[in-house]
Amino acid sequence: MLTFSLIGIIVINNIKKFILIHEADNVLVCCQAAETGESVELDGEYVELTTNIDIGHKIARQSLLRNQKIIRYGVSIGSATSDIAKGSHVHIHNMKSDYIPSHTRQSLVGE
């Protein structure tokens, strides 16, 4: 079942920072900018952020393997291009589309 509602919220120092959209998701979406070194509780385990994460960006809810499907809204939004550690930024550097490459101002990615 597809859902667009927020079912979980991760709070750091009393501030809501990440949201879980669907039970099956293996990524969380940032709802307020988080900084390197901040500690995020993911399924009972504390993980330190290794980069700054901006609003709208994703982090891994669990450890992910190369070629594993990235799940958001309960559906696949692409595949991991490398192993991804729990709590790491998930973006164009470590995942790609299963349909059509994305591009940035500098280059085409995910080919």
């Binding site: 927020l6 919220i9 990235i70 973006h91 164009i92 994305s102």
Partner: protein
Amino acid sequence: MKGFLRADGRKGIRNSVVVVYLVECAHHVAKTIVNKIDHEDVQLIGFPGCYPNDYSLQMMEKLCTHPNVGGVVIVSLGCEGFNREKLTQTIVNSKRPVETLVIQKCGGTKSTIELGIEKTSIILAEIATTQRTKLNISDLVIGTICGGSDGTSGISANPAVGACFDMLINDDATCIFEETGELIGCEHIMADRAESKELGEALITCVEKAEKYYTKMGYGSFAPGNAEGGLTTQEEKSMGAYAKSGASDINGIILPGERPHKNGLFLMDVVPDGEPVFGFPNISDNAEIVEMIASGALMVLFTTGRGSVVGSAISPVIKICANPETYKKLSEDMDVNAGAIIDGHVTVNEMGKVIYDQIIGVASGNMTKSEALGHKEFILTYKTFDGSESPKALGPSCLR
């Protein structure tokens, strides 16, 4: 709510005169007429190309006879390929006042501008007496588009528009969502909502056409700003965009300019048929907005994460900001702060109702932010639908 009653029985929420240039060579003259009159109900639209194109002619016919348009002034250079006689006849048949000025016959720039101001003013006075009649929710045709999407779009503004669409459809309005290229990856989920099996198959075929077309073009419908805002792949962007369509049954597929055959929810197939001939399906957000207006949209809901500022000629654009940080920076351009969902202040359904109420207000005459700021963007370019892959080829006309 009251609407402007047109001869075909449709009702508009605005009563504008459009000044239309039929080739770039007539753009300056048409623009100067509009600028000198400087009236909010006089708007500039036009087509830049000199070569004829069926799609552009049909789009212009639909736009010039849109319920929000009361009268038309056509500005032609004289030698361009646009079939101005057919366009004029279509407008005459719709019982709207129309004047055609041909620069090469009017004595050049200055005299055409003077004549254009005179004719436009006469039409403006004439349509001021247009009968107004009760406007029902079932008369509303509402389009939606997202532009400058980011990672927040799919959890705030887009599902809120989806909730609003469900309310509108429940009240017997007509809603249009679009960009099959931005539904790549959701085609099977979407097909489950089709009112018939045949339509479900046609929805999948439409999206496959889009995927094939965009792959040939070398780019998906995915801008660098999407990635900066946290979106990583076409299918992630698609899922967010798809949320705008809500949860109602999908009743059909329409082509740009084609009107839904009944009230309900319709997908617009914007991707040309066959091999790419004229380039990207829509070169920017306004090209999509124009297509929904040509299909009868009285108003367009525009969701944005990164922060678009555009409006449109002919139909008002309500801008719904997905990202609370963007809202802080660009609040003067935003009608609705759907970022409040992310802040946890309101639910998606509550925000859907806020948008619904905003629609009623704008239909009743309230100006949107983009209208008040003078945004009247318009773009129409070349396109080809030869019927080989579009809904026409996919099944009986009841699909449309």
